[in-house]
Symmetry: C2
Subunit: 366 residues, 2 copies
DNA sequence: TATGATTGTGGGAGCGCTCTCACAAATTAT
DNA sequence: ATAATTTGTGAGAGCGCTCCCACAATCATA
């Protein structure tokens, strides 16, 4: 019997190569060493009141010496809080994850999570099979306190419904296409695109084209709507031949521009910077100078926009703030439950660089 | 008493708006409904043997109907396995996370995790305060089964030591600078850079410069070493004035190239594609044509390299495979314990495009 | 037919926490 | 002084699983 206990103890506190104790120390072990009860140690660890100063100090000392860390799984099981948030990027954005937008967003989200001591679980859906596995993993209790879901093509928005059914707190990144009874954060794509188009009109362009995002995505639709509205508000004729659907990739922008060039537009509103970079490439290959022969304006303000040749005039999104805001909303949802869904729309900003020809125009008019 | 039980039941199985049952169903609930014991349900859920076919079917039916999911925390606590891996990106790479390399790597890792039913926890260290919080969160028991650590500047490699002390399975991404008793995956940076330099020499260039990575990083050092060795092996003089240290950013490449141009190099080996893109920009601004006036070769083969103007000759890294291999090694470590640390070095591949002038040379010699 | 091995099932003891409650001790109010 | 409150502490009952062991029922073997 004695032997058995001894064995257990040895097993509990093994020593590693560097001589530092590694251990599956428990509250009870700390309690014993500090001469108090498990409950008291728990209070100290969680910084709860009703512990006398000297006891708190004594327990803290033992914790320091032993390098005790509370077990996350046990804590989660007992408190029903995992302090982990999920970030789900659906299949339709998987290929775009290398584009600067998503890494940037992820940075914002990760930063916000760190700040509030949440762990961030990343779910990148790369295939239909992934999706199934991820569905069950995300809705499983005891792992996530809440989920951020990137909105995407309408084909992969089932996850939002699943989470609603499972009653799991969620915040959607970007306006979801088929749900309005869910909290989401979005950037004002309509007004951003509107401002971009107005900027081109103000610069005197009248034959204005657009390379849109996928018509299956809310982002693509919204930016297209803003563009259209600006033209109609300002009495500029919208030629359907000047509207080409792109896919948010560099190559997509390149091919769209190639199709657009025969129509001889004076200016193009491209629904993303990456596509704009491709569009510039196509224009240049066709012997055209940007902005002298054709003006361009992008959307996003990715880091590359500024260093592109020519630097891109674009609509800046507050990407990092966007991520932070989403996390804050989610935490609020987790803490205070489901009040009526909230919709946060963030503003964009027109960044004037060279590709729109504003600088050239200035020189002419000045 | 009866009332109380009734109340508990009601509480357990609330109905949501869509009428679908949401519940904190437990094994016991399923057991009761299927008329078997908790143990049997557990066997069914975990697909263990020793369950008769009809019982298995009956239990499966109940699970299907109720939408039961096992609780992750409880499972983790009881089995001491969380099925979660951590990916730690130290502070020195935080700013690079938007570069295509890390998102690409993350994709590979995420894919591998999905495939093996692991959840991926992402830790992006954005500051010194983050680092502290993340240290404790990563070493905490009951959350992670193992950790992938990106190697970075020698200043932020403490985490590797911490994990070793805590006896947590880890695989380092990239050769760590100060540990060799740890399992890591790396790309053969030395031979990659060597091949790049040899390629330039073969094309007839003799005045060959390099824009290196940070001398604080193993990657920067290794690529520089490979470059140097190639020149010395081939009897090409290495002029120290032709070596400029960069920082892996586009802007860094731009400025490095500006400093390099007065020395009139014929060709430049740039230690990353992003820096190469910046270098092209600087060369062009100085009125030089790439590759006619100056040849360039990059490293990484990010997607942009192919669409750059001119398309970049570069050294391709098997980024996705790299991530997958790292996950596999980590899973092996988790399952089979710490055998002597393994070092996996993956091969690179020379991708010839336009920026090195190979095509021009072909025309001349052909 | 008796014996042993195999298969199927249930009970129980944890895993390491949180959290409510009981209760003693110290404080304040009456 | 006593009663009422506040503060500090510990015991105990879970949280929802896994996993070992006991045991009955079935099968193969002697």
């Amino acid at each position: 019997m004695d032997f058995c206990e001894e064995f257990v103890k040895t097993n509990e506190s093994a020593t590693n190569l560097t001589g530092v104790m590694v251990s599956n120390l428990t509250l009870e072990d700390i309690a014993e060493q500090a001469g108090v009860s498990r409950s008291t140690v728990s209070r100290v660890v969680n910084d709860l009141p009703n512990v006398s100063e000297d006891v708190r100090r004594r327990v803290l000392d033992v914790i320091q010496q032993t390098g005790y860390h509370p077990n996350a799984a046990a804590r989660t099981l007992a408190s029903q809080r995992s302090w982990t948030l999920g970030l789900v990027l659906p299949q339709s954005v998987f290929q775009f994850f290398t584009d600067p937008y998503f890494p940037h967003l992820t940075k914002g989200i990760a930063q916000a999570c760190n700040e509030h001591n949440y762990t961030l679980a990343l779910y990148l859906v790369s295939s239909k099979e992934d999706e199934k596995k991820i569905f069950t993993r995300v809705t499983r209790k005891g792992l996530l306190d809440g989920v951020l879901v990137q909105s995407g093509h309408h084909g992969d928005q089932q996850i939002i419904g699943h989470l609603m059914d499972a009653n799991i707190p969620q915040v959607v990144l970007g306006r979801p296409q088929h749900f309005d009874n869910v909290t989401f954060v979005d950037v004002d794509n309509v007004s951003g695109a509107y401002n971009a188009a107005v900027h081109l009109i103000r610069l005197g362009y009248r034959r204005i084209a657009t390379i849109t995002g996928p018509s299956l995505s809310a982002v693509g639709l919204d930016r297209h709507a803003g563009f259209t509205k600006a033209l109609s508000d300002r009495g500029v004729k919208l030629d359907e031949a000047l509207v080409i659907e792109g896919d948010f990739t560099e190559a997509g922008g390149y091919y769209a521009m190639q199709r657009l060039l025969p129509t001889r537009p004076e200016a193009v509103f491209v629904a993303s910077d990456l596509m704009a970079i491709g569009a510039v490439r196509a224009a240049r290959e066709a012997g055209l100078s940007v902005p002298n022969d054709i003006a361009l304006i992008g959307f996003d303000d990715v880091p590359l926009a500024a260093t592109n040749d020519p630097p891109l005039t674009t609509i800046r999104q507050p990407v990092v703030q966007f991520g932070i805001r989403a996390v804050e909303l989610l935490m609020d949802l987790i803490e205070n439950g489901i009040h009526p869904p909230r919709h946060v729309i963030m503003d964009t900003q027109l960044i004037i660089r060279d590709s729109c020809g504003a600088i050239r125009k200035d020189l002419i008019s000045g």
